[in-house]
Amino acid sequence: MNLFGFARKKPPTPSARTAKDRLQILLAHERSSSGTAEADYLPMLQRDIVAAIRKHVPIGDKDVEVRMERGDQMSSLEINIELPAAAASTTG
């Protein structure tokens, strides 16, 4: 360590401050989603969506990608479905 390093070093953000901020953001989400019920709904939703699409188009498990992003103000649910080229042209 540089002998004079301490003089130039910026005071770091106290880690307690970071801990509090992280907790507040995390708990805001956990509380709004009322516990365990929410934890399970994404996989269920994904299963239902895949099943609904499969009624009409033969798709594999890997063709569907579901992603959830939680923000401070809003959350978004993104579903990407890769339709097989042949099926896409015949059905629609």
């Binding site: 106290p14 880690s15 401050r17 509090k20 992280r22 907790l23 995390l26 708990l27 516990g35």
Partner: protein
């Protein structure tokens, strides 16, 4: 140590000591709080709900006197009177230990309720030492509670899990499910608090934790060597000589019984400059 038992009818108050995260000091706190209540003259029983792990008996120093346990009583193999262990130090303190080997589902809601009803007729305070987590055992420990002491370290995972437990207390308990019942009175007990680390911004303050959890504060237990020392010898910390931790638990107990006590933040005595330079005397 002798205490004067109260001659009034029993209060029959059920208090769960819970936390979510393990290792934050539930059993230490259950032992200290129940010993503190008994020392104040309240007829107190402390029950170990941690079926399978069973540590309350060791913390209370009665591990070699266990014959029958909580599970035996629930399954009808023993009477409650046979399973209750009378503390050797305090006249008004009893321990209901649990079993190490049996199946966790042995704790049934009906069984727990029956035991608690019987205890309420004789004791002022019934302290339920909860297992960690949010599973069956923890739910059984909190189900019939009137009050909850949520034990938290000033550390992110512990605070987060406490928040989860507070959610369960307000939604998954007997009081929550019965219409018109007053909600469980939940309070937070902050343990392993280190004022020196708070001062340099390395530990969340009491205010930080309270702001996040939004429940009243029951007490702040400083990080203290007295805690490990007390558990080494199987004595609740409030009975093991004076210490900052013992004092803090006594204050918490007073608040639990409705006495206003000022919050004092005291840590262990910090070594002075000369002590630090020339080594510890002790």
């Amino acid at each position: 140590m002798t205490t004067e038992p109260k001659k009034t009818p029993p209060l029959g108050r059920v208090i769960v000591v819970t936390s979510g995260k393990g290792g934050v000091g539930k059993t230490t706190s259950s032992a200290a709080i129940s010993a503190g209540l008994a020392k104040a003259g309240f007829r107190t029983v402390v029950i170990d709900f941690d079926v399978g792990l069973r540590n309350l008996d060791m913390t209370m120093g009665c591990e070699r006197r266990v014959v029958f346990d909580f599970i035996n009583v629930i399954q009808g193999d023993a009477r409650l009177k046979q399973a209750l262990i009378k503390d050797k130090r305090l006249e008004t303190l009893f321990i209901l230990p649990t079993s190490q080997t049996r199946d966790k589902d042995a704790l049934t809601k009906d069984g727990v309720e029956k035991v608690l009803t019987e205890l309420k007729a004789e004791f002022d305070y019934i302290i339920c030492d909860s297992p960690a987590g949010i599973e069956h055992g923890a739910q059984m420990a909190m189900h019939f509670a009137d009050e909850a002491v949520v034990v938290t370290n000033p550390e992110v995972s512990s605070v987060r899990d406490s928040d989860r437990i507070l959610g369960l207390l307000s939604s998954q308990t007997h009081r929550a499910e019965s219409a018109g019942a007053e909600p469980i009175k939940a309070q937070v007990l902050i343990t392993r608090y280190d004022q020196a680390r708070v001062d340099i911004g390395e530990m969340m303050t009491v205010t930080d934790v309270l702001e996040i959890l939004a429940v009243p504060l029951l007490g702040v237990i400083p990080e203290s060597k007295a805690i490990l020392k007390a558990s080494n010898v199987g004595t609740p910390v409030v009975l093991d000589g004076p210490s900052a931790a013992a004092q803090a638990y006594e204050d918490a107990v007073s608040r639990l019984t409705g006495t206003q006590v000022e919050m004092r933040m005291q840590g262990e005595r910090r070594p002075g400059l000369f002590q630090r330079l020339f080594g510890r005397a002790s």
